[in-house]
């Protein structure tokens, strides 16, 4: 069960006793290229899908796909990252690493969603934005900032599903939702474990420790209040049964859209604002700061277990009330 929670499902994997190795196996699982990506998922979930292309400014980014889907009779705008499943597709998709054009396409299509009253579903699975000069100089930072800002105020329901790697600002650019869902074996982090290790440990070899320290797993992110819902993966992981994975996602997403769709738009946007407005703990200094929390691996696993069969919670009830300042 512990193995399953930490995502160690693949054949030939060693059942590591070291919890750091268990976390790393989870990271590897999240990165498995055979996991279904946006196009595979939407094809399995939707009755119809029309992809839209281009940012109307510079190009069409193949690492981010966007389009219009009919899912169980509902019109939905779907946007997500698209890694390739083989080398050829990966090259064509720039290994799923987006340029600014991808986020600008996403914003253009989100605008359609708002104007024609379609909810937005995003799939997040990206190592990070493309770190090359072309992305940098065309304003990947500006594109991510604008996309995050736009999603924070978009007047239509948004559900974001982290399906694999939720890597840094590149992932966040499509991950500002009323509800944040994560597949069981996915990860979410402020920087890649390798990057974190290179900077803080001055050595990329400490990436396992970094992954552990950053609490990257879906379950831990749920504990931290970043992720709202964790969806268990079928069989040995999402890649072993993409259709069932898509079915489970669809079930959760449609339920969320049902709930979110009943909230008046003003309230919905206000609730989304508040959800993110209160994220991140701090204390006021004139009160004694709480002792640093040193969660051991046992506690962490207990936390994972208790949260695993996670139930959808109502945003607007759970999130509307800001948690106390010292909640963590």
């Amino acid at each position: 069960m512990v193995d399953r929670l930490l995502g160690r499902h693949g054949p030939g994997e060693s059942h590591a006793a070291d919890p750091t190795d268990a976390v790393w196996a989870h990271v590897q699982q999240a990165r498995n290229l055979k996991r279904p990506h946006t196009l595979e998922l939407v094809k399995a979930m939707a009755d119809e899908f029309i992809e839209l292309h281009g940012d109307r400014l510079f190009g069409d980014d193949s690492a981010i796909v966007a389009g219009l889907a009919h899912i169980s009779g509902r019109r939905v705008v779907v946007i997500g990252f698209q890694k390739g499943q083989d080398t050829e597709e990966n090259i064509r998709r720039n290994f799923g690493l987006p340029h600014p054009e991808g986020y600008r396409k996403a914003m253009r299509v989100m605008d359609l969603a708002e104007r024609y009253a379609m909810p937005v579903l995003t799939f997040v699975d990206v190592q990070g934005a493309f770190p090359g000069a072309a992305a940098e100089e065309r304003g990947i930072a500006e594109a991510i900032a604008k996309s995050v800002g736009m999603m924070s105020r978009l007047r239509t329901p948004i559900v974001s599903v982290i399906t694999g790697e939720g890597g840094s600002g590149g992932a966040l650019g499509l991950a500002v939702g009323d509800t944040i869902v994560a597949l069981e074996n996915s990860i979410y982090s402020v920087i890649s474990p390798e990057g974190c290790a290179a900077i803080l440990w001055r050595s990329g070899e400490q990436s396992h420790q970094a992954a552990m320290a950053m609490k990257v797993t879906a379950g831990e992110q749920q504990e931290l209040g970043i992720v709202d819902i964790v969806i268990p993966e079928p069989g040995e992981g999402a890649h072993t049964d993409p259709v069932e994975t898509a079915r489970r996602i669809r079930e959760v997403v449609l339920e969320r859209f049902d709930v979110l769709g009943r909230i008046p738009l003003d309230e919905l946007v206000e609730a989304r604002f508040k959800k993110f407005r209160v994220m991140g703990p701090y204390v006021v200094a004139d009160r004694p700061a709480p002792p640093p929390e040193r969660t051991g691996i046992t506690d962490r696993l207990r936390g994972l277990l208790s949260n695993m069969p996670s139930m959808p919670s109502l945003p607007g009830t759970r999130r509307d009330v800001p948690p106390g300042r010292e909640e963590v």
Binding site: A129, G139, E142, G149, G169, G195, P292
Partner: protein, 324 residues
């Protein structure tokens, strides 16, 4: 996103000795003289990094700054340990800077007009943005919004703070969602990017000002050069990711030497005037609310749009800028 710690050490910005060697031209500079030139090398115009306190003193009407929320303090929510524990890093930074975290926000006057401002301090764990920094940026924005006074943010940051994990990442959303409200309400926002403005700070509020200013040669970037050069293997041109690079690529309106920064901001604030109700004609002067607010807080005369009515140095002293 990450903080890259091998930035120039804090010693360079606050040398304990009398002299500083200029990293731009290798001249030895007398510190007292350097302070008079706003810590800009008189030989090569190298802009030294400066503390939030020094930045505020250089920019606002003397004595007008009133810090808010100086008591906000970070917590170690993840129990983060790398080569040191996060609490140890925090304590070291707090002792070195006298700050509780890497940003200072408050209300002030420029040429007699009220503003809400937030200034980052690179000396505190590389100016990295965790929950407190995000909170302070957000509160500065919300005060600007509530009072309909301009928002000024001076960035100096290595990016998101890894030790707070995804909470740090969420500060991008927190700050951008407030900035979006500031913009929707037609409240002016001037962003000043100083050396360095990188990662999650560049990828959120710093890049979306109504006007983006940058200090000369400031390092501004999203992806680190280790990532850019190492991972992708591209050759990087000279001047890559410096302020002038971003000017030519369309993301910086103006490159402003430090000596002109205050005057340029004042000039811009003479144009970017929040309409009274966010949807119609401009006010002919500050709103009554802003005026009383300013008077109450700073003792300054209300601005008349013509420049130089400085607030008197009463009420709050400069020293409070970073002491809250």
């Amino acid at each position: 996103m990450p903080v890259r710690l091998p930035f120039r050490p804090r010693r360079d910005a606050y040398p304990p000795d009398l002299w500083t060697k200029c990293p731009g031209c290798a001249e030895m500079l007398f510190n007292k003289q350097l302070d008079k030139t706003l810590r800009v090398c008189p030989h090569c115009s190298h802009h030294f990094r400066i503390s939030a306190k020094a930045r505020i003193e250089q920019l606002v009407d003397p004595g007008s700054f009133v810090e808010r929320d100086a008591d906000l303090t970070p917590v170690d929510a993840l129990g983060f340990v790398d080569l040191k524990t996060y609490p140890d890093r925090l304590m070291a930074a707090q002792l070195a800077t006298g700050l509780r975290d890497a940003a200072v926000w408050g209300l002030a006057a420029m040429a007699g007009k009220p503003i809400s401002m937030c200034v980052m301090d690179f000396g505190f764990i590389g100016g990295s943005m965790g929950s407190v920094v995000g909170e302070k940026v957000a509160r500065a924005g919300e005060a600007a919004l509530a009072e309909r006074i301009p928002l000024l943010i001076v960035s100096s940051s290595g990016g998101a703070r890894m030790q707070e994990g995804t909470y740090s990442l969420m500060q991008l959303v927190k700050t951008m969602s407030v900035v979006e409200r500031v913009k929707a309400a037609r409240v002016p926002f001037i962003s000043v990017m100083t050396d360095p403005t990188t990662g999650g700070v560049f990828a959120s509020f710093a890049v979306v000002g109504d006007v983006n200013l940058a200090e000369p040669n400031a390092l501004i970037r999203f992806a680190g050069d280790r990532v850019s050069a190492g991972t992708i293997g591209e050759e990087l041109p000279p001047g890559y990711q410096r302020a002038e690079f971003w000017f030519s690529h369309g993301f910086v309106d103006r490159i402003v030497p430090r000596a002109r920064l205050r005057d340029e901001i004042i000039s811009l604030l003479g144009f970017l005037i929040a309409p009274l109700n966010g949807h119609s004609e401009p006010p002919t002067g500050p709103t009554s609310r802003s005026r009383s607010f300013l008077n109450a807080l700073t003792g300054a005369r209300s601005g008349d749009g013509n420049g130089d009515s400085r607030a008197s140095e009463t009420g709050q002293t400069r020293g409070e800028a970073t002491n809250g």
